[in-house]
Symmetry: C2
Subunit: 205 residues, 2 copies
């Protein structure tokens, strides 16, 4: 359904559309419009229509979009019409926050294991997960066909753990370590570093 | 120094350059090149040179960039040549992880207070901060001239707390709640929602 010519910036907005649509659905709204979605996201309705037009026809002229229908289409486009198992590496404060995060449910992801290199953390219960030793990571990733990982280890360990993840079959890494990872071209990395976002904002202040 | 015509996507990369440069400096490198920076970040050197050219001349032809000099320039451009006090709202698992986060030091930000609406959390010690009640937020923000906040409250509370922050004088909100905030035009919001990043990556898988 997607095309290779969709700009990445448009792809990056699809999860925001989905989040807004889910909020509308939770509020009991059966139908919405590009105007309404735009208002939710602080964009123009022309931009919303242009973004969605990359993926074909979504609504009927004059009747708006079916919220449930649009949610289903966007979920299919993002490949989250099924659930992805996710491993979390690092049982420190960030790893624990992720394991406790309630926002994964119904959004395409499910934490299936937490790993740490520290023997003192192995065996700890976090949410419903018992922390596993790092040397069981490869076997677990293989067994569950895990392709997605959250990396929440110290910066000094991040590159070597990333390499272990890649060897094990992971193809998408959400990196909380404040370092730039070097991975093969077919592996995607997104970085979450609060300081990057703060510095981006202070530029404008 | 900055110009209004700098594309936001270029501004967003400056913190990444700074992070790479700091790593080079920590490794003892006095001089670097656009090639080396590009390699660190998985970009092309032409892109690095083009990005930096928005902000004037940085290096001398053939001699590369002084790492310390470039760091200082980028810090000035991002307005982090001084330290911004930051309030954290929400003493749940995300707020605690942020308070414990060691990555703020020397990167322009310093947590100056943590607040929570829950009387059971008020008084808790997190890192070196005693959790304060939410009704002291406005006074604290005024007193310390705080302009930057991290919002780590449940989605249902996020909008009302954001409005309180804005009234108190905050102009940049890093939002961990999985909802879209509505704020005045002169207030910047960046969202950290791990699911948005995961969904962005699964599009390509």
């Amino acid at each position: 359904m997607e095309s290779k010519e969709v700009p990445d910036i448009v792809v990056a907005r699809l999860p925001l559309y989905l989040r807004a649509l889910s909020a509308l659905q939770d509020g009991g709204r059966p139908v919405t419009s590009s105007n309404e979605i735009a208002e939710w996201l602080g964009m123009t309705s022309a931009q919303v229509r242009k973004d969605l037009s990359y993926f074909g026809e979504f609504g009927k002229q004059g009747t708006g979009y079916s919220v449930a229908g649009l949610i289903e289409r966007v979920r299919t486009i993002l490949h989250i019409d099924h659930e992805w198992p996710v491993v979390v590496i690092g049982a420190g404060s960030i790893g624990r926050a992720i394991a406790h995060y309630s926002g994964f449910a119904d959004r395409g992801f499910r934490v299936c294991g937490i790993f740490d290199a520290d023997p003192l953390k192995v065996g700890m219960l976090i949410s419903e997960h018992e922390v596993q030793p790092l040397d069981e990571l490869t076997e677990r990733v293989h067994r569950h066909a895990v392709r997605v990982a959250v990396l929440a280890v110290p910066g000094s360990a991040a590159q070597s753990v990333a390499e272990l993840l890649v060897i094990s079959g992971v193809r998408a890494i959400l990196n909380y370590a404040p370092v730039n990872l070097h991975v093969p071209e077919d592996v995607r990395v997104e970085n979450i570093d609060p300081v990057l976002h703060l510095q981006h904002m202070t530029y404008y202040m």
